[in-house]
């Protein structure tokens, strides 16, 4: 559904204005019977070059070098980034995270979401157009497709032609390359969860475990299917971000726009002809902007939810404008306000400093700072104190009262640590058992502690006490845990 009123022309889709009289709004003879389902029309995006295309290739290279390269990095004789699900240890360079540190993942997701809000409010679907894996892999798969089958028109001709040896060869080669690339992607993905060097050796020996095999092939299959076949369908029908990003748009958001005032009425013309004399606008109706569009829309119909903001139409239109000798910018990054009021780019950029953007920015900065500080101050030691529940308290020699606690000590450093345990909170309280515990790197050990108080040191009931656990090697690594000491009747 959409609203469209003559004075509020911000509809995401371009629809002819409704007649004032609802009864006349729908002439009956216009009616067509259509299916509730549409069959997909294959899109053959024409390859394009230009500023935004270059930027997209830059982000493709950066994201892919990071994705394929990171698991191969080494750090202190282990993989720099490794999410060891089986041992529940997450190694990120110098950090060793436990499942208890999941709050940092929450922080990361909050930062990612806020960054998405911010970038979308400022410049539309930047994520979709430049960084989203769906876009990036589609771009790579399209590049392979183009290298094998040729550009748009060649591909269309090939698909329409009857099966021949050459067609079969081309298709076979394309799919082989796609599958190879997809498997490499799946392999890299699994390499984040099991050491990638071992994985490589296992793959070469064809002796991967059943789950490793499954995930390599499943992730590979998803890459192959999404980037090779689903493509814009993922953005149009499956992706929730595509839809809710529209909610972050306002009239000062930079989006890909078509300058309707300048372009219309569109139409072909001779190069020498004066468009003004012919009564034509700047749009030569070459339809190249439609041909290059990866989602197959016509940007001249205005902002549409299918538009992923990749800027391919800007690049190709600028090229055409240069050829016919018109000024560039018939299709350009602009805002709805800027379009309506004829603002310059500088004026539109100034509007970026609006409350929505400032609020997003400040929340993003505060949360990023909080996560950084918390990560920086994180103690690589975790302790859980568990009271013995069966035996609450007992009387031992000389009438001393004893409680038993189990301390679960988690060493989040990569060296063996000796921890000294102290107890305080009641007069004369002391640990009667071994108060030093040695824990191997990234291991968990539980220590049974007998804590005693002298007779009469505390009244009957529960008393708060605290355990201080400190590493022998580094006084900075210390944790304080609260517990309760029970004195029986």
């Amino acid at each position: 559904m959409s609203s469209a009123t003559p004075d509020n022309n911000d509809s995401p889709r371009s629809i002819a204005p409704v007649s004032a009289n609802p009864a006349n709004a729908v002439p009956a003879d216009d009616e067509v019977m259509v299916s509730l389902y549409a069959s997909r029309k294959t899109i053959y995006p024409r390859s394009v070059s230009g500023l935004f295309s270059n930027w997209r290739w830059v982000t493709v290279w950066i994201t892919q070098i990071v994705f394929y390269g990171l698991p191969w990095l080494e750090w202190n004789a282990r993989q720099a980034i490794l999410f060891d699900l089986e041992a529940r240890r997450f190694y990120i360079f110098g950090l060793v995270l436990y499942p208890q540190d999941f709050i940092y993942l929450t922080g990361l997701l909050v930062i990612a979401a806020l960054a998405l809000f911010l970038f979308t409010a400022v410049a539309g679907r930047l994520w979709c157009g430049y960084a989203c894996p769906q876009t990036v892999y589609t771009e790579i798969f399209l590049w392979i497709e183009k290298k094998v089958e040729g550009d748009r028109s060649a591909r269309m001709r090939l698909d329409q032609s009857a099966m021949s040896a050459s067609k079969f060869g081309k298709k076979w080669l394309k799919h082989a390359l796609w599958i190879l690339f997809a498997l490499w992607t799946g392999f890299t993905f699994v390499g984040y969860f099991t050491p990638i060097r071992e994985l490589a050796a296992l793959s070469l020996a064809a002796s991967l475990g059943p789950w490793q095999t499954f995930w390599v092939f499943f992730y590979g299959f998803a890459t192959y299917g999404n980037a090779g076949f689903m493509r814009e369908q993922v953005c149009k029908y499956m992706c929730p971000y595509a839809r809710f990003q529209s909610a972050m748009f306002d009239k000062d958001t930079m989006i890909v726009t078509y300058d309707e005032k300048r372009g219309e009425p569109r139409g072909p013309r001779s190069k020498k002809a004066d468009p003004a004399a012919l009564g034509l606008g700047a749009c030569v109706d070459c339809t190249l902007c439609v041909q290059v569009c990866p989602t197959g829309i016509d940007i001249r119909n205005g902002l549409q939810y299918e538009c992923i903001g990749c800027g391919a139409c800007i690049d190709v239109c600028d090229e055409v404008m240069d050829k016919v000798g018109y000024p560039r910018g018939l299709v350009k990054y602009s805002t709805q306000n800027g379009m309506a009021q004829g603002w310059t780019t500088r004026q539109m950029i100034r509007r970026a400093m609006r409350p929505r953007v400032l609020v997003y920015t400040s929340i993003l900065l505060v949360i990023s700072l909080a996560v950084m500080v918390s990560l920086f101050l994180r103690t690589p030691l975790k302790v859980d104190v568990i009271r013995d529940r069966g035996a609450l308290a007992r009387m031992v020699e000389q009438g001393r009262i004893e409680n038993v606690f189990r301390l679960q000590v988690m060493n989040a450093t990569e060296s063996t640590q000796r921890y000294v345990i102290r107890v305080s909170g009641l007069p004369g309280i002391a640990i009667a058992s071994e108060a030093v515990i040695e824990v191997l790197p990234t291991e968990v050990r539980s220590a049974v502690l007998r804590v005693q108080i002298p007779p009469g040191a505390a009244a009957t009931g529960s008393h708060p006490i605290r355990f201080d656990i400190q590493a022998e090697s580094d006084a900075g690594i210390s944790v304080t845990e609260k517990a309760a000491f029970l004195v029986p009747r």
């Binding site: 629809i15 409704v18 067509v32 509730l36 389902y37 069966g390 035996a391 007992r394 009387m395």
Partner: protein, 302 residues
């Protein structure tokens, strides 16, 4: 197995499931063949509030195929697994069967680990780091609730780390205790001892046996009444391992120390029970666990 006496609910549930799946197919077929009216500006022609129009935004056709796949999946699933009433499915799967299979798998996996400790003398098992790590985990799971994480017990739950055993305390005794449990019975002895005063006197005498603070006059008077206790605890009060009667002279008080606690024991007796673990642990596990417990009071070499 059906929980109902008649087959009505079974047929009702199976029928309803099948009808629902078929209804889904019919719905998909109807929706797939229905044509809706639109006008050439790609709206359905419906206008509300003067300017609100409904755009025809069709789902892609492959989306319908996904629905069809779910229906096929449901039917295949229903044929293989229990889905239609009490029909077991071609694979004969049951949650109970899966549990049994998983337990068997784990038992087969751990059997070789335990196997190497079978027939090994307890001294050697207690000195084996791997066996002791296993023993500790078993102890924490099955024993620590009563005997405490440090195995030092609590009132009425024996300390397992001292040398004081109610029975012989050797490996076989501990194994039997874990497997079959123990019942420690002391009958109420008040009548045999005499009146309440006699009970107090006996209590003081018992305290005197371990050199605990006591009333010497009462202890002297209680000495002859102790004859009633001597049948089990022995004339010298040193207990009798064969019947599990505790030594009263060693200053270890399982059920509490002091005149009051002892008088309560004489008056009411005890029926102290340790539950059998044989249903939870197999022989090989009990063997390792018994060695672990044995090792706690028989530390050698340190």
């Amino acid at each position: 197995m059906s929980d109902f006496t008649s087959d009505f609910w079974n047929i009702y549930v199976a029928g309803l499931t099948l009808v629902s799946i078929i209804a889904c197919l019919i719905l998909l077929w109807v929706a797939g063949t229905t044509r809706a009216a639109t006008v050439d500006d790609n709206t359905t022609g419906h206008v509300w509030d003067g300017d609100l129009r409904e755009i025809n935004n069709p789902l892609p056709r492959w989306w319908v195929y996904l629905f069809v796949i779910t229906v096929i999946f449901a039917l295949v699933y229903g044929a293989l697994y229990p889905m239609f009433g009490k029909f077991q499915g071609a694979l004969g799967w049951s949650s109970q069967g899966q549990h049994t299979a998983e337990v068997e798998k784990v038992e087969a996996a751990i059997a070789p680990i335990y196997a190497k400790f079978n027939g090994m003398p307890p001294e050697k098992i207690a000195a084996d780091a791997e066996a002791m790590a296993i023993g500790e985990r078993l102890f924490m799971n099955y024993c620590a609730q009563c005997h405490g994480s440090d195995a030092r017990g609590a009132k009425s739950f024996p300390n397992l780390t001292d040398q004081d055993w109610l029975g012989s305390g050797d490996h076989a005794y501990i194994k039997a205790t874990i497997g079959q449990g123990r019942v420690g019975v002391m009958p109420p002895m008040a009548a045999a001892v005499g009146g309440p005063e006699d009970v107090r006197n006996v209590a003081n005498y018992v305290l005197s046996l371990s050199g605990s603070p006591h009333d010497a006059v009462r202890a002297t008077q209680g000495k002859e009444k102790f004859a009633a206790c001597a049948a089990c605890h022995g004339a010298d009060g040193k207990g009798m391992a064969a019947v599990g009667a505790p030594n009263l002279t060693d200053g270890i008080w399982l059920h509490g120390w002091g005149e009051e606690a002892i008088a309560r024991a004489v008056n009411n007796g005890f029926n102290n029970q340790m539950p059998a673990q044989a249903a939870l642990l197999n022989d090989a596990q009990i063997n390792v666990l018994a060695s672990y417990v044995w090792g706690m009071s028989n530390k050698t070499g340190n």
